[in-house]
């Protein structure tokens, strides 16, 4: 009853379904072992990769990994597939697609033209037979630009989300972290708070607070409170100043059911945010977060590997033209991504798949204290992703999120990689940093003195 068969010497390897073949072809990670879908040996994995390389891309349009009738994300993927865009790659196998992507023929323009012809499953499949350098090279060629109050994703730019979380949502504590971030040039992607408690009143209070700061200093950026989408809809109804709608999303309908929303909820929220007309550069009003392992965590993975489920989440994202998509790669813990090596691989895969599908992909380069990882692993991933043209990373004081209890990239980290690779923030934000003297307009370096506007705010609080 094998769908796919490969004879190697005296051994015959068989794979019962496309989903099983995809799972066994996936580079090793703890979450796939946890799900019981990983290859049982290194040889079986290598054979699965060889077998997967021979699969025609067309097969992914016929052989649906989760049935059409059972899952609204499958329906979204199938119904929105663009056959005309698919035409230039329709004759290829997965292995041939890898070479097509790496070839000089696949320019940024051609990659954009085929974008809507690529399904998440095709992207996931090809990523499984690509080395880290392949993922980086192709990602770098994919250009995705979005806008709200500034322009994100342009070549030569690396943006940051300023993440001023506080364990009790204390306004002064949050303001202190915002000030710290601004002084280090962080926050052009978004100033985004994870609230300590999911509460509509609290979310509105934080939205108003950030809105005041953005208006007071005329900062060309946007704010977001990362609360449940239904809370944000309520906040909009109550007249709160909502820039971006946030939601964590997964790649199966059952995952999203466990998160308490569906595609219709997201559509309602997007329409509500658009009705406020708060962006002056662009109309991308959604901010999504994803991460390998969420489907399995909700027991909603349909025996698929976690990276394939993750890629399917990008179909959800691209349906709503997001400003930002953030794969929170090391947050979920060692049962899904065991160590630095697995976290790094997953980060590169997610960024590649997201960019290939046309998403403004950023990465929360992070780890928890129960994972086998440390700051050096994060330095490696930050460097690799920035070379790959990652749209944005997180920025937090000293890498320590005192609310979510994990470590992510610091304000300093972003400055390190901007300096090494010659990257700049979004153009509107870059100009603002110079206008208010956070950055010295002549040298392009951080000013050694605190700018006067911020110095006086600080003086009022501290009584200087």
């Amino acid at each position: 009853m094998y769908r796919f068969r490969q004879v190697v010497g005296s051994n015959t390897y068989g794979f019962k379904s496309l989903g099983e073949l995809m799972a066994k072809a996936t580079p090793a990670r703890s979450g796939d072992y946890l799900a019981g879908v990983a290859a049982q040996s290194a040889e079986e994995r290598a054979i699965a990769q060889m077998t997967l390389a021979d699969v025609p891309l067309k097969m992914f349009l016929e052989d649906l990994l989760i049935p059409y009738e059972e899952d609204e994300i499958t329906r979204l993927i199938v119904d929105s597939h663009d056959l005309e865009a698919f035409q230039p790659i329709s004759h290829l196998t997965v292995g041939g697609f890898r070479e097509w992507l790496l070839s000089d023929y696949a320019t940024s323009e051609r990659l954009e033209q085929v974008r809507l012809g690529i399904t998440p499953e095709m992207a996931a499949a090809v990523s499984k037979i690509m080395r880290n350098q392949d993922l980086i090279l192709v990602s770098k060629k994919c250009q995705v630009s979005t806008g709200f109050r500034n322009t994100l994703g342009l070549p030569g730019r690396l943006s940051t989300r300023l993440q001023p979380n506080h364990p009790t949502d204390d306004l002064t504590g949050i303001a202190a972290s915002i000030l710290d971030g601004l002084m280090y040039g962080s926050g052009d992607a978004v100033i985004g708070i994870n609230p300590a408690t999911d509460n509509v009143a609290q979310a509105c209070r934080l939205m108003r607070m950030m809105d005041e700061v953005i208006q007071h200093y005329e900062i060309p950026t946007q704010s977001c409170v990362l609360t449940h989408v239904t809370n944000t809809i309520e906040a909009i109804e109550q007249g709160a100043p909502v820039d971006l709608v946030f939601q964590s999303i997964g790649g199966t309908q059952a995952t999203n059911d466990s998160f308490g929303f569906n595609l219709a909820t997201l559509a309602e929220a997007q329409a509500a945010a658009l009705s406020l007309q708060r962006g002056n550069v662009g109309n991308n009003v959604m901010y999504f977060e994803t991460g390998q392992g969420s489907a399995l965590s909700a027991n909603a993975h349909f025996q698929l590997d976690q990276q394939t489920c993750e890629a399917r989440a990008y179909a959800v994202a691209r349906c709503f033209s997001p400003l930002l998509v953030n794969t929170v790669v090391g947050f979920i813990g060692p049962e899904y991504l065991f160590d630095g090596k697995q976290i790094i691989r997953a980060g590169l895969e997610d960024h590649f798949c997201g960019k290939l599908l046309g998403l403004p992909m950023g990465c929360d380069i992070c780890y928890t204290n129960h994972a086998q990882a440390d700051q050096n692993d994060m330095d490696n991933l930050l460097t690799l992703l920035s070379v790959a043209g990652c749209t944005f990373v997180m920025g937090i004081p000293g890498s320590d999120d005192i609310m979510l209890n994990y470590q992510t990239t610091s304000f300093h980290d972003a400055l390190y990689i901007r300096q090494v690779l010659g990257l700049k923030p979004a153009p509107e934000y870059d100009a603002w940093l110079k206008r208010v003297d956070i950055v010295d307009a002549q040298t392009g370096r951080l000013s050694s003195q605190m700018p006067s506007a911020f110095r006086s705010s600080l003086g009022r609080l501290l009584g200087h």
Binding site: L34, P164, P167, T168, D170, L171, T172, G173, A175, A176, S177, L179, D180, M183, A196, T197, D198, N199, V200, A201, Q202, M209, E212, V213, H216, N231, E234, D257, S258, F259, G260, S297, A298, G333, T368, N369, H370, Q375, I396, P397, G398, S399, D400, D401, I402, M403, N405, Y406, Q407, H412, Y416, Q419, S448, M450, F454, S457, L458, R460, L461, L462
Partner: protein, 289 residues
């Protein structure tokens, strides 16, 4: 010669001062535990801060592996003065060790068959039915439960037992190597209307002792997170016991009134108390002197 040496040292010192840029807003640390105002060498973190971070990371990693002291916890709980106090039940999940626990979250969500039997036996000894069962799970920080569970319950349980419609409260159940979802089968077997689970959250660099609270109405095995409400970061230096108690009372009473929990039950507790930050306001935009 000596004179030249002194001169050289002096000039090196002066150079070092210029290399390190300090941040005048570091004083704001009195308002937050966040690592703000670190200063910089070029754009990078000063050596002292780098080493302090590594020490904190080492401590947090160690905290993950410290086991729950059950004997001490039971002793602490016995001090709670409540009419409904019953001896705690000691249970465990199907994860046999910390190492298995870390790699098999599915085992941490299931009760060990021996523990299921303990609960069934207990249920068969009593005709009592319960409105609420409290479950304590070590999670990723036994320290959090060890330090915070008793003082928090000391506030909450007496109020629940003496409210306008008193809650009938079952025995406190302690689950070793337990995750959030393990509370549901405990509540289900004891036929409780509601289960409230306290769990050690993943330790942060500045908070190895943070406790989370999860509430499920009509608990049964297999429910997803969408059916639970959460209060996070309960500890002395985080969300205070008083504040957590207020939020928990609200959620419990609303869950009982509406007969549900999870995303349909929103936390609408407004902040009743003017905290210090409300008085100070948002200093970044305030014009108050």
């Amino acid at each position: 010669m000596k004179r030249t040496m002194n001169h050289m040292l002096a000039s090196v010192d002066q150079g070092a001062d210029e290399l390190l840029v300090s941040n005048p807003w570091r004083d704001l640390r009195r308002f937050t535990d966040a690592r703000i105002g670190l200063g910089r060498a070029g754009v990078s973190i000063p050596t002292q801060e780098l080493l302090a971070f590594q020490l904190a990371h080492a401590k947090a990693q160690d905290a993950v592996h410290t086991p729950l002291n059950i004997g001490q916890l039971i002793k602490d709980l016995s001090a709670i003065k409540s009419d409904c106090a019953q001896p705690p039940l000691s249970l465990r999940s199907r994860a046999e060790s910390r190492s298995v626990y870390l790699q098999r979250p599915d085992y941490g969500r299931l009760l060990h068959p021996d523990s299921e039997q303990v609960l069934l036996d207990y249920r068969n000894t009593t005709s009592q039915s319960y409105d609420l069962v409290v479950v304590l799970a070590d999670g990723l920080s036994a320290l959090a439960i060890q330090e915070n569970a008793t003082p928090f319950l000391q506030l909450l349980l007496p109020q629940l037992a003496r409210g306008p419609i008193p809650w009938r409260i079952g025995p406190v159940c302690i689950v070793e190597q337990g995750r959030v979802a393990v509370g549901d089968p405990v509540g289900e077997i004891l036929r409780a209307k509601c289960v409230m689970l306290l769990v050690g959250e993943r330790p942060g660099l500045s908070s190895p002792d943070s406790m989370g609270l999860y509430l499920t109405w009509s608990p049964k095995a297999g429910l997803t997170d969408a059916y639970r409400n959460c209060i996070s970061n309960i500890r002395e230096a985080g969300l205070s016991y008083e504040e957590a108690n207020r939020k928990a009372l609200y959620l419990l009473n609303e869950a009982r009134r509406q007969g549900l929990s999870g995303v349909q039950l929103k936390d609408r507790t407004e902040d009743l108390v003017l905290t210090s930050d409300e008085v100070r306001g948002n200093f970044l935009v305030s014009t108050k002197g």
